[in-house]
């Protein structure tokens, strides 16, 4: 994997870069749609490509449980199993083990848990997580970490971070797939000094990129921004920076402002399925009765397939009728919105006018 910085904002921390994996170049800052179970819900890989998605995220925990990483390996990896030729980043399974499974035991060796699907018992350790991600054959693998919830005490945050660092060392040791990058995850909750201590140790181990974990897990927005403020400047300049699981369009803009290069979040896809649609003037709920006779597209001037073809009234009808088509059409629109947002951000960075672009973006939301 190669990462180059193409340009930097003259008056801030934001940067425009290019990440190159075995599956091609990824222009950054980039948003990665989430494809939990080997599919970005409701869309085909061709539609993702048409939308301009460059890299998607696959969930190690889900794919390990079903259909199984060995099975996917027999198909030549996740790319060929799901027929996606862009890049893939896999998470470590850590977050889902803590949020979805029934935890039986967290110990130095790893985490013993019960599957949310059938209750079967499993253990994911740093070595197992590496093994699975190598079987999936993603372009970027993530270290197995403990994702802390909010709030946690300083003591817990410190203790957990120490384990995450020991696990990161074991991940680096176990990782052995040529061409697959490995990212470390900076933990430490909302405590800047613990985050910094984590980062220093991870940097000693030496990873291809660094991620910020356990943000957008319930803490007030100011706390998240304070961590970004305190940490992103300290992240290795020459390595990609990834803010995990974030977030709203505003979060992406603020992340970029603080020098983040990569984002992922279920928000555009999950909200699409719940009828919440993003526009440059804020979001709308398509089920609202004021759209029942509205012959306009979701957003005038939007060039997505949904807006080129269908009215709000038709989408509302499909949504009220729980018709399968609406989940696709809404997802297409929301991902188009997110991916165009990042494209616009990249253009603004290229022309060194991100600060002005950012003000216009917030002004648009006020309308």
């Amino acid at each position: 994997m190669k990462f180059e910085i193409i340009s930097k904002e003259s008056t801030g921390a934001a940067r425009r870069g290019r990440l190159t994996t075995r599956h091609g170049a990824i222009e950054t800052p980039v948003f990665m749609p989430v494809g939990t179970q080997g599919t970005v819900k409701s869309l085909t890989p061709d539609e993702l490509e048409d939308l301009g998605a460059q890299i998607i995220l696959g969930n190690t925990y889900h794919l390990y449980l079903r259909p199984g990483a060995e099975r996917i390996a027999r198909f030549g990896g996740l790319h060929s199993f799901m027929h996606w030729n862009g890049s893939i980043l896999t998470d470590s399974g850590g977050f889902q083990v803590f949020s979805l499974a029934k935890i039986r035991k967290i110990q130095e060796e790893g985490v013993i848990f019960q599957s949310h699907i059938d209750g079967s018992r499993h253990m994911i350790s740093p070595e197992v997580s590496m093994q699975i991600q190598m079987q999936l054959g993603s372009d970027i693998a993530m270290c197995f970490d403990e994702c802390t919830s909010y709030p946690v005490t300083r003591e817990y945050a410190k203790q957990s971070m120490d384990m995450t660092v020991r696990w990161a060392r074991r991940c680096k040791q176990a990782h052995a797939l040529p061409g697959q990058a490995l990212f470390g995850i900076v933990q430490g909750s909302i405590y800047p000094d613990i985050r910094r201590a984590c980062l220093e140790q991870l940097r000693d181990i030496d990873f291809d990129g660094y991620a910020l974990g356990s943000l957008a897990v319930g803490e007030p927005k100011e706390e998240m921004l304070a961590v970004l403020e305190a940490i992103t400047g300290e992240l290795t300049e020459s390595a990609p920076r990834y803010l995990m699981g974030v977030g709203t369009p505003e979060d992406l803009v603020e992340g970029v402002r603080h020098g983040v290069d990569m984002f992922d979040c279920v928000l555009p896809t999950r909200n699409a399925r719940n009828g919440m649609l993003f526009t440059s003037q804020g979001s709308i709920q398509i089920k609202n009765s004021r759209f029942a006779d509205d012959d306009q597209p979701i957003e005038i001037d939007c060039t997505c397939y949904t807006c080129r073809r269908f009215s709000r009234a038709y989408l509302r009808h499909l949504f009220m009728s729980r018709e399968l088509l609406v989940y696709r059409l809404n997802t297409l629109h929301n991902l188009h919105y997110y991916l165009r947002l990042m494209e616009n951000i990249r253009e603004a960075l290229q022309e060194d006018c991100f600060d002005q672009w950012r003000r216009d973006f917030y002004n648009g939301l006020q309308k």
Copy 2:
């Protein structure tokens, strides 16, 4: 609407024709995918066009209740509301009133029923059905009829048929949309003489086409074939013949053999969503564990999008994970199968080798 017969089988009743509506030419025999609520479930209109769908069916009962026929009329009709430029046939609402709604009263005037959505009370009469179908602006409207279940007594079948004929007369009277064809529906359950009496009276009223109703409603296959045998030969030669709600691939082949020109059925789309996939060697259940590691497409040599891209193992994984994408991919395959089947039948008819084609078709299923 224009209907021409292009060729007839030299040794049988099957025929190859062309039906021309305001939305273009429809090569017959034709299968019409069902788009109940203004959408063929999970697919876009562009995908339907790519599949080669020439005409789809819309359900009057559903669209009347939600989003409402007046609303669709304000959008310029169902074609522009759902963005489909091919032809549309609307049913009369009769079948759904009897199968879905809670019937309050069947009387000469019409049927009083409660909506299956919110329990609200409504009345559909022949005049109301015509009004709704004219508002929807379909290319072919159907007469409001009573769809009898199976079995019914001779007495009930006769009495119901008489009312259906009186309703058909009122439909013809109320129908007033230039360019919209109106088809009569032959009732009479499994009693050939009642069917014949119905047909004679409908022919006197004079419709643009004639349909066979209340078949495939639970009667043994031989009963359905016996009715086809007895009646299709008597149907006006120069008008299109439509076998409503039928059926399996074998049913379509037997329908064509008896001179039927048009079919519709939820089978390919509904079964797709239940994981049942059609192939020329019979159907398969994708959830079957024998497909877990199967890297072949649903059907080798199938040219549908799904088969060109994805393995049975991947489809099985999506199906077991209840992923939205699988409903689309399965629907694409099944509709492709049905539409190719009809295309192959038309080719065989054109070359006057339908009988041989039919034998090959059944031999294929035995494999």
